[in-house]
Amino acid sequence: MLKIIIPTIMLIPLTWMSKPNMIWINTTTYGLLISLISLFYLNQPNDNTLNSSLMFFSDSLSAPLLALTTWLLPLMLMASQHHLSKEPLTRKKLYISMLILLQLFLIMTFTASELIFFYILFEATLIPTLIIITRWGNQTERLNAGLYFLFYTLMGSLPLLVALLYIHNFMGSLNFLMIQYWIQPLPNSWSNIFLWLACMMAFMVKMPLYGLHLWLPKAHVEAPIAGSMVLAAVLLKLGGYGMMRITTLLNPLTNFMAYPFMMLSLWGMIMTSSICLRQTDLKSLIAYSSVSHMALVIVAVLIQTPWSYMGATALMIAHGLTSSMLFCLANSNYERIHSRTMILARGLQTLLPLMAAWWLLASLTNLALPPTINLIGELFVVMSSFSWSNITIILMGINIIITALYSLYMLITTQRGKYSHHIKNIKPSFTRENALMTLHLLPLLLLSLNPKIILGPIY
């Protein structure tokens, strides 16, 4: 794993010592090379994990997330070039260093083999994200957003620390590979209920679960584009990844404890999808759509069937790419009209037809069109929740319809119809933006040819 970690650490001296007109080029190129290395980890042996060392390992669950993280860094750098162009050089280098530091922590989180190590890095990802949101966001609400983000996550994760130390005491070790052989069933008692809650709340807040999702619209909307991208694409998946890892320790209590969270997720996904239909703020719409998709992942992880785990993993990767792409598209709008209001930039198809093609494809993948991996994820989750309880099909069906509704609403409002008058002198699309969209879309479409690699360890 060091062959990914050390190059990522070395990207920081690269930014600080490059010539001023080469910082973006250097970091993007080497970031892409690092993501090439991470693709090697996708080659997983069928019945085991790839153990690189005492501290790092990668299995079929963490390898696609690792590839997603390393793929996203060059994309974030490409997306940030425009809004940072007016800043002094030191601040640009600081911003890039924050992104690289965040990338480093995320890589180590996804490949950590010991749960306390995972926890430390899970918390460590908060600091660069906080700095990116609060320092480089654009509106005054970003202070509140950073505060909500930090404190919601910390309130959830401090009980997790206590719970992990308790389990360490109880079991002797917290290494993933050993713990799967030492698991004892967790009977139903009050103290075990609190243990379950302490373990899971951190990830529920991160996902986010419907009742605890208040930080997400704030943080996503106020963050600059790279912040939004990494938040939506990877940081939310930390919650899903953590939940999948820790539910191995919490059986069979999960069958009992899962009910309230299933209710919240099932209801929440419909609620947040419906809110999307009434949003005026484009980024806020995409943020609430993230909550809705992640609620599906929560449902899948709590059901704990083989198909649901496959669906959750696929949905995480698919949603990461889709959501990040939607934020890039929203940002391309924002950079032109400096407002996030949807109706201010209508009828863009006549002015920017290629961008309209990307908008179309992004919206189609967001509403889970076959044969994309979004559909595979959602379909597996719907089917497994149907087998868990027949009635959930109604809620899932309503959610799929409303998802389609708001995705198409977003597409039609921004792209179709007559353009607004003041919009005629926006700049045409940059090649950088088109490249960005392609780089998001190509993995998404190519993975639909071979979804086996993102279906997780159960496949």
């Binding site: 922590f105 926890y119 430390i120 890095l121 918390e123 460590a124 908060l126 600091i127 700095i131 609060t134 320092r135 202070l143 950073g146 505060l147 930090l150 404190f151 910390l154 309130m155 401090l158 009980p159 620390l161 206590v162 130390l165 308790y166 360490h168 005491n169 609190f194 302490a198």
Partner: protein
């Protein structure tokens, strides 16, 4: 203050603490405490104004009372055990009196009221000595009598200290008061673990002293005592603002900075001793601390605080103030987490 006098006073302060730490006779420990207190009064009164005199008086009164309480505990111990050696104190009354006296010296709740007021009335340098060096002597005595301390009493004090330290600091804009409440909260964390694993208390004390020294030195670079003056630092010392950011997050106990080490270790020790609710409560209350540190970083490093145009156009001169050992202090205060496995040498 004239240099010879300053040297004598500093030497007395250090000798006092050394005497406390190195003695095995209770009377000598009391002597050490008194030497320390008397010698630090002129340091607290460096600026000759009524506020400093008020602060010194409050400090003197509380410390003297605490020393007398300690003496009473020592005498009761003498009565029941017949010897003056510092060892396990079998009599519970003597033990409680000594614990109360020492926590009064440290500024643990419910004896915390003097800490913000004294810290506010004195200069930054004196405040630094007050909050770091002065904690060493009482902590060393608590370490030595740790097998015989009443756990319930100390745990209650610790819990209330963490709460008071968190809530008290929320409404402050004066940096010295913020550091005082931070000291109360950190002392609470240390007191919680003394009866279970005193080594972790020493670890927490060491890291707390390192972090507080760094913070005070950064404040002294700019001679800033309020949040407002700290917020002008982006113009004069842009690098120091980033240092303050990281240091504040480390004081708040965020991983992966060194401030997380003591919290992690203390929670680990407490859970090993079957206490689950107390460390959870302490950890969550430490978030209150983090809130006001974060507010400081917001105004210093992450936003441009509202300021007049004059403040935005300062010359950036070379640093002329002495910042002794500042780089190593900052590095140890923030980057020590990967060295945590080395703690096994303490066993």
């Amino acid at each position: 203050m004239k240099p010879p006098i300053l040297i004598i006073i500093m030497a007395t302060i250090m000798t006092g603490t050394m005497i406390v730490m190195l003695s095995s006779h209770w009377l000598l420990i009391w002597i050490g405490f008194e030497m320390n207190m008397l010698a630090i009064i002129p340091i607290l009164m460096k600026k000759y104004n009524p506020r400093a005199m008020e602060a010194s008086t409050k400090y003197f009164l509380t410390q003297a009372t605490a020393s007398m309480l300690l003496m009473m505990g020592v005498t009761i111990n003498l009565l029941y055990s017949g010897q003056w050696v510092v060892s396990k104190i079998s009599n519970p009354i003597a033990s409680i009196m000594m614990t109360t006296a020492l926590t009064m010296k440290l500024g643990l709740s419910p004896f915390h009221f003097w800490v913000p007021e004294v810290t506010q009335g004195i200069t930054l340098m004196s405040g630094m000595i007050l909050l770091t060096w002065q904690k060493i002597a009482p902590m060393s005595i608590l370490y030595q009598i740790s097998p015989s301390i009443n756990t319930n009493l100390l745990m209650l004090m610790a819990l209330t200290s963490v709460l008071v330290g968190g809530w008290g600091g929320l409404n402050q804009t004066q940096l010295r008061k913020i550091m005082a409440y931070s000291s109360i909260a950190h002392m609470g964390w240390m007191a919680a673990i003394i009866t279970y694993n005193p080594t972790m208390m020493v670890l927490n004390l060491t890291l707390y002293i390192l972090m507080t020294l760094s913070t005070f030195m950064l404040f002294m670079l700019n001679s800033s005592t309020t949040t407002l003056s700290l917020s002008h630092m982006w113009n004069k010392f842009p690098l120091i603002t980033s240092m303050i950011l990281i240091l504040m997050l480390s004081l708040g106990g965020l991983p992966p900075l060194s401030g997380f080490i003591p919290k992690w270790m203390i929670i680990q020790e407490l859970t090993k001793n079957n206490m689950i609710i107390i460390p959870t409560l302490m950890a969550i209350t430490a978030l209150l601390n983090l809130y006001f540190y974060l507010r400081l970083t917001y105004s210093t490093a992450l936003t441009m605080f509202p300021s007049t145009n004059n403040m935005k156009m300062k010359w950036q001169f070379e640093y002329t103030k002495k910042a002794t050992l500042l780089p190593p202090l900052i590095i140890t205060s923030t980057m020590l987490l990967p060295l945590t496995p080395m703690l096994s040498v303490l066993d």
